[in-house]
Amino acid sequence: MRGRPATSRRNTELGLLVLAIVTTAGLYALAGLGHNASLPANLVPLLVFFCALLVTAHMAVRRLAPGADGVLLPIAGLLNGLGYVFIARVDEDLAGLQATWTAVGIGAFVATLVVVRRLRDLDRYRYTFAVVGVGLLLLPLLPGIGRNINGARLWVSLGPINVQPGEAAKIALAIFFASYLVEKRDLLSVATFRVGPLLLPDPKHLGPLLIAWGGSLVVMVAERDLGSSLLFFALFVVVLWVATQRAAYLGLGGAMFGAGALIAWNAFDHVSARVRIWLDPWPEAQDAGFQVVQAAFAFGWGGLAGTGPGLGQPTIIPAAETDFIFAVIGEELGLLGTTAVLAGFLLMVGTGLRIAMRADGAFEKLVAVGLTTILAVQSFIIIGGVVRLVPLTGITLPFVSYGGSSLIANYVLLALLLRISDRTTSLSGGPPRPVAAGERAR
């Protein structure tokens, strides 16, 4: 798409958004017909609502980042819409809340585009992001506001609303890692230390890796949140590897992760239980293994084409609206539907990596890599957990699962990726941007 006029990208985006809306509306109508044999009463208002939200987002991109990638927003909108349809299948009230969260998410998306005019500006707030990221991550541990939900302490109560600060932390930390590693990467990529066939950096530069590892362990042990723990560590190791171009960090990171996992498996019941159920859930099909076993049943029941929207039994699986939404999709849309979701995430990840490759500055590249890694790893570990490819670690499926914190954070993440892609276009010979001109005049 390099060199294509910005208006063409925007028109592509608009066309794809219409497709996403039509698909969502069609699924929602079918789900209503399948379940109640009547069209959902709120079909038209909801359609107008989603149209308005996505058009708002689209207009914001048109004005604020006209040269940005045109595929990411429609895919996110489609996944969000798909998620809404299936959350409504599980719980109508939650679906209403999710619509509200979507509006807030789009608001955050627009606000991010407004506030972050140049990604490089964020570089200056490196340590602010570090403090905010770590602070948010550890916030649930504070007595008084931290709350345990379903055995994991990753929630913070703010009045009537429960917030998962970890969702925001992942973005702050991705920016911090990028910023930090841009500066230190030369130092960290000098190999001076040889262990067998491996060339390792000077041990004194291993500090950051150890801190990230330790932080992940704290999250896992104190908050019992395996998913976030794995996500943060993977994020750091991947960005470190891309920044330094040293495979040794991957190996070292993998070894440290393995060691951590082994310790956790031996020391913590909730970790060893997850592994046991991953290996063989059938003896515990009625208790500890219930969720994954019922998810397997849902996939099997769905078969190739699914039961059809509205015709499955999504309420059997616990946490069907959040961690296990993918199994609900599998039951009602079958292999065709789950493959479409996989393809959607793969497209987003591919687009994110392409944006990273085309970004000019090292900071932009690393932020794009970090944000894309978050999307890729988070969707992989939750889908992998639900289909029992990897042990289950509860985390939301980006854009699809129910959850305000997750939705808002992912729309911010999306806006940042779009912002990076827009810089690329404007600096690589794209058409002049009226807004950029205004910026200079200011």
């Binding site: 078969g303 059997i316 599998g330 996989l342 990273a356």
Partner: protein
Amino acid sequence: MNSRIRRLGVVVAALYAALFVQLNLLHLVRADEYSAHPANSRAIKRDFEQPRGTIQTADGVVVARSVIVNGPFERQREYPEGELFAPVTGFFSFTFGTDGVERSYNAELTGRDIEVRIRNIADLFVDRRPTGNITLTVAKSVQQAAAQALGDRRGAVVAVNPQTGAVLALWSSPSFDPNELSQHDQSAVTAARQAMLDNPAKPLTNRAIRERYFPGSTFKIVTATAALETGTVTPTEPVYPTLSALDLPTTNRPLTNFGGSSCGGNLFRVIQVSCNTAFGQMGLDVGAEALADAAAGYGFGQVPPLDLPAVVAATFPPLEAFDRNLPAVAQSAIGQFDVQATPLQMALMAAAVVNGGSIVRPQVVAEVRDDAGEVIARLEPREWRRAMGSETADLLEQAMIGVVDGGTATVLRTPGVSVGAKTGTAELGGEGPASHAWIIAFAPADDPKVAVAVFVEGDETTGTQTGGRIAGPIAKAVIDAVLALPDPRP
């Protein structure tokens, strides 16, 4: 950095490929295994949401149907005849599963086993799932006659057509109302089921097919079969001495006749008066092995292939039980010791005698029709087993007719119809007199239309119930009801 980013893309693609492979495994390869897994409630929930065929009796009375309701599920199962057909239809409960025809014909009722006939091009585009409607072999008039004749007493009645295997009545008393187990309010269902389980009369227990009882003197038909088949006894030889008690080897407790009376004579005579001393001697003469063979011939030790779930087999003790225990052989020969049978098995025994020694597979379902009224499946008579040679069967048939003509079952005499029977009074040997009352019977002997077994459960409160006096009139009512049915054949 771009080469690393490209490599990262390859790794992510590989991870997603692994997800795709696993999805194929779950969605397609393991799908059937998962769908059949007992922990998977989707099948029963689906059955609850879907249309379900009706069940009607042979005489056209609807005994189970689905009605559209406003509830947690769109449809609710209804049993218009209440408890009368519960032993046959079973129930259709969300919490406690299904039983009876509702279970054994679930696939037909939901239409899953019914091929959709494409009648016109429009059928290709509609998800037309025809349900199967079931017609039972049981007629309401016969079932009602059995239930009314047994009344409040605990017991069971099984009547079959000896030539086709069609079950004409299958009643267990007390019964239960399947509507209570099939309603949508699951706490009400749980409470209703608990009340049934707590009831000492055990209404949920299907006595006709799932409980075994001492058959008492009705088992003498098996002993006589063993004696005739081995040639130990002929219609004229031996003539058993008239005794009031038979001394048994290795014990000083003799075998006595009912009420302390004396009896003896040839085979016909000792069957007619149900002579314990003669049959005890006959058992000792033929031996345990021949008795076991004859019992196995009738199906003891085998689950009868009735099309209802969880039927149990009648039992005859293993041969080792008779080692160095000759009295047990004599006791078994008169249906005591460890011989136990279901009322279904005893009805099949009468059917074998009147059907030339052949037992036809019993079935409660006559036919399945799709929603357009076309017959999809129909009961075809098939032999289950041969119990004995036809000469033996003819002799036993004559002997059982003799029991009605001038023996312990004269209550069954029916003008113009040759009826045969054998009574049984199984003493329970507890404190005070108590006995189960049995009768097995058939009619008419020349063109058999019904073989019936009646069982009336005894305990301390019932005292001694003799087969002829207590069970006889019930069998009479059932036989009369069957003979009153319109002849299905042209």
